[in-house]
């Protein structure tokens, strides 16, 4: 099994390496003439009137939290889906209960308006 993951490691390294080479090529071959206007953050032609670090709606964080929970659910579903033949009806029913409990949570989200984007 380990032998199969070595190519992935090499591939990841090649991917990063390629990006480094391209970036280095761009930095070397391109001109470098900075000036204050060019280096200022883009803002539709006006000078920026406030710092770009603004506070954001908490809703974005709620989406991220809900995502973690659903991601875990997927992690539970993956091994289940490939052993359906061996675990039989018992295993399928077990997952049915698991999903039903979580769908109750999903309905709660829905009814509470956590999925609304105002």
């Amino acid at each position: 099994m380990l032998g199969e993951y070595l190519p992935i490691l090499v591939f990841l390294a090649v991917g990063f390496g390629l990006a480094v080479v391209l970036l280095g090529l761009g930095l070397l071959a391109g001109p470098r003439r900075p000036d204050a206007e060019k280096d200022s953050p883009f803002e539709c032609g006006f000078p920026a009137f406030e710092d770009s670090r603004i506070k954001f709606d908490v809703r974005y964080y709620l989406v991220a939290i809900l995502f973690i929970i659903f991601d875990l659910e997927i992690a539970f579903l993956f091994p289940w889906a490939i052993v359906l033949d061996t675990i039989g009806v018992f295993g399928i029913v077990a997952m049915g209960i698991f999903l039903t409990i979580l769908i109750v949570g999903f309905i709660y989200e829905w009814k509470k308006g956590a999925l609304e984007w105002e």
Binding site: G15, L18, P34, E43, S52, Y60, I82, L84, E118
Partner: protein, 356 residues
């Protein structure tokens, strides 16, 4: 051929170096065609959308503009990489790398034809899901490091959008796994062999649609491209990027599009399997049999079809509003996949397997 190379290098190099070298050669053999595909995807996109809008598209460089991608590349290399004054220089330059790494490494587990795969891992699909979830970092870090309002807004939008569609995508994958019984992509394709009617697209049609739509959203392509919405936040997370730094994001985006296209073909349309499978009078023909038989050309053809869909969507659909995107992801796609998984589980519990 690899044995000849192994013997050749084995004469003067230690064994582990030979192994690494062979892998490196294989990786390059995947990466170079991939870059070429990406380059010509940009050309094809401009040509196709041009035709759809009754224009000619690029036609100056080379015959019918065929050298346009190279012209673009050389132009971008000689452009200045502007690093904004108040940005975080280190993270600003690292972000493109983080976008590129996962977009390319995912190709390691893609089977191009029967047995033609670099890393034949057991948990191939899980690996792909894990890698695609890393793609969001390049964007978030790029958006934050730029220290620009537009970039930051875009990073936040894209972050929430990508994670939302990843759920629908993951659930759709579960449906495929239930039908194939394996996480290995090669096995998933082999489970679809038989005839065109054994492809998973028929019993799992809903999941197929959900998967491809989520794929479009995941790559931030139109109509889900609020992250770059040029009319509101100019170019989104890469507004401050120029020259090669920008083109790396571009490269990663197109590599991801090809990835989604290839995965959709592998999981739902039988990958390298020929649609004429089972029709022996066609596949047994002396020369044409190779064309009608299974092979990498079918995967390329199917993936190209999905690329065409990507471009077609861009030319056809107006951009979704952000609240509509979130609604589609959470309130439509996720319920569809959940219902589908339940139905599939019920069918299996009753011993009825439509895909066999």
């Amino acid at each position: 051929m690899m044995e000849i190379l192994a013997n050749f290098f084995g004469a003067f190099l230690p064994e582990w170096m030979v192994t690494l070298l062979i892998i490196l050669i294989k990786v390059v053999a995947i990466v170079l065609p991939l870059i070429l595909l990406v380059a010509y995807a940009t050309y094809a996109e401009r040509k196709i959308i041009g035709f759809m809008q009754v224009r000619v598209g690029p036609n100056r460089v080379g015959f019918k503009g065929l050298l346009q991608p190279f012209a673009d590349m050389f132009k971008l290399i000689f452009k200045e990489i502007v690093i904004p004054a108040r940005s975080n220089r280190f993270l600003f330059l690292i972000a493109p790398l983080l976008a590129m790494g996962p977009a390319f490494a995912a190709w390691a587990v893609i089977p191009f034809s029967d047995g033609m795969v670099l890393a034949d891992v057991n948990a191939g699909l899980l690996f792909l899901l894990a890698l695609t979830s890393l793609g969001v970092y390049g964007v978030i870090i790029a958006g934050w490091a730029s220290n620009s309002k537009y970039a930051q807004l875009s990073a936040l939008r894209i972050g929430a959008q990508m994670v939302s569609y990843e759920i629908a995508m993951g659930f759709a994958l579960v449906g495929v796994l239930m039908a194939s019984g394996s996480l290995n992509l090669g096995d998933i394709v082999r489970a679809q062999s038989g005839s065109i009617f054994s492809w998973f697209v028929w019993p799992l049609f809903g999941l197929f649609l959900v998967y491809f739509i989520s794929g479009v959203a995941e790559t931030n392509r139109a109509p889900f491209d609020v992250a770059e919405g040029e009319s509101e936040i100019v170019a989104g997370f890469h507004v401050e990027y120029s020259g090669m730094a920008f083109s790396i994001f571009f490269l990663a985006e197109y590599a991801n599009m090809w990835l989604i296209a290839a995965l959709t073909s592998l999981m739902f349309l039988g990958g390298w399997l020929s649609p004429f499978q089972g029709l022996t009078f066609l596949t047994d023909m002396p020369v044409l049999g190779r064309v009608f038989g299974d092979g990498i050309h079918w995967l390329l053809l199917k993936a190209s079809f999905f690329m065409l869909l990507f471009f077609w969507f861009r030319a056809t659909f107006p951009r979704y509003r952000y609240d509509q995107i979130m609604r589609l992801g959470w309130k439509i796609l996720i319920p569809i996949t959940l219902v589908w998984i339940f139905a599939e589980g019920l069918a299996i519990a009753l011993g009825w397997k439509p895909w066999l």
